[in-house]
Symmetry: D3
Subunit: 125 residues, 6 copies
């Protein structure tokens, strides 16, 4: 499985055309390869942390930074690596402490949109 | 164990005088109590996420936000809840992806200082 | 009047479906209630500051943080609590000093949109 | 009274040597004058908002941005323009909503330091 | 050539209706004039830095701040002042170091959109 | 010349012990090497932009992000790659537009400290 395929399945059901790697390639194929090897190969495949925990930490960081596009990708990745919807939602609620209410509200909107994309949203509780 | 004591042991060896709760009390004792009950009782004691994972997510968020004082407290909390030094360090390295190199560098400086406070720093490797 | 109704009228003409409380409820009704009681009951109803001044301070903070969705709500709240359009606009202009020109430009775009929603926009001066 | 003197008395007891204007002058006297005229003359002396409210809005923005040096100056300015310590503290507590707990904690530390400089701190309550 | 015209040609092919100056005028014509004179006259026309380098620095800052609307304007300005597409793209890639991957990804999306507006995008390489 | 030496001379007179690479090595020598190769080899040594312009862009980004430690290093690097003090200062003044006055003030303080370290500060003008 190539790096490109590994990235894609990590973010499924997000299409390859929407990933960072695909965008980088349109600007500079050589640099795109270096970047992808560095992040996927050099950083994310280190085995010190389980992938599920790594993705929950990504959700935490992207929620407080209010990076909604990247948060959507990593909510999918967290689900694909075994985190439950309740766990992902709980991390986003926790971020109220560090990013304030706007981070929480935007984070939940993004989570709802991602869960709908996965056909995992069962409406208001 | 009171809320105050629970907070203190979470952040040990940080002294009670250095916690947020102690600061809040100096300004408004009634509001300090509400805040502490909300964060400790309402948010952090929910059992959906293990405390160890919650603290790793706090480390992630505070690293990218470059909040060094609060990061120091939550590095201690993560250690007190069972995260290893290697896991904490790995989360900080991962944050390069979302916060850039300044977040990584400041995060590692804070981690080194916290590990020294815990007598857990064994020098350059 | 329930907390839910109090929040809604604060943000009128924004519909209840667009408020943070409504979103929180879709994820976790128990936590939504705690959050709402804490922010509305615990923090915003303290009488040390007049509501009009509190809302102008919210406009200031949300402008420099570039949280446009939340800014829209608090521009409505500021108007509903007696701030004039000129005062709200002036706070946003002042934020040039602290958040730079992008905060000012995005803040004015949001203010224009909110004033149009209130039928209070009378075109270029 | 010159612009320089106006700025200084606004921030008293902060010395002229610690103001932005003094720093700018050391780099470029012509630009320093333009900047000061723009901010003090063009923006801050407009009479749409009372100076006291303007300074509370500055406190709000600088708290969520975690700009502690500038926050210290504007806490002095808010006091000098008639805001009470309780009102200033209340704005900082309110900012928990938008900037999260780190903004609140750092803001209160700065407020305590400024109140001590003014001989207005009467210890833990 | 008036300030208004100077601003417009700087950002071509962006229309006058989309510039900050046009927006400011709708709120306060007097302040809009002061602001524009200060930024264009006071700051940007100083001849210490070539306009091309100044615009590359604006691209750098707006990329890490993730201000996409303003970045779009300054990508046009950088092209209009002689920077190549490759240079602009390189600055955005460099910002990975300081703003992390989300800044890079959003920056490249904005660059692609601006290059398409200029009819200078020749598809994936 | 090794990567380590290249980095050091870039930031002179800053000592090797104060660089990011030296810090990374204390935590994880393997990852430190990958990081350094990626940033120095993969990103900064690309020849699309002159090193002097690249460093001015770094100064721009670090000023608006208010990363004072990293800004200090890149002010030295900009000087070492041929930028004048006036050009560096001008970039920092320009950042008022995007980061607001706190970014400008903190940036100038850092520049003054770096110029003093280089024995290039000749006092108030």
């Amino acid at each position: 499985m190539s790096l490109d395929e590994a990235k894609q399945s990590l973010y499924a059901p997000v299409e390859r055309e929407e990933t960072a790697y695909h965008l980088w390639q349109q600007f500079d194929a050589v640099l795109a390869k270096k970047l992808s090897e560095f992040f996927v190969g050099g950083l994310y495949q280190r085995e010190i942390l389980p992938q599920r925990e790594r993705e929950l930490c990504a959700v935490a960081a992207l929620t407080v930074l209010r990076c909604q596009d990247e948060l959507r990708l990593h909510i999918h990745a967290a689900r694909n690596k075994g985190a439950t919807r309740e766990e992902i939602t709980e991390v986003i609620f926790q971020m109220l402490s560090y990013g304030g209410a706007p981070s929480l509200v935007q984070g939940l909107k993004t989570a709802k949109a991602a869960f709908i994309e996965r056909h995992e949203w069962d409406g208001p509780k």
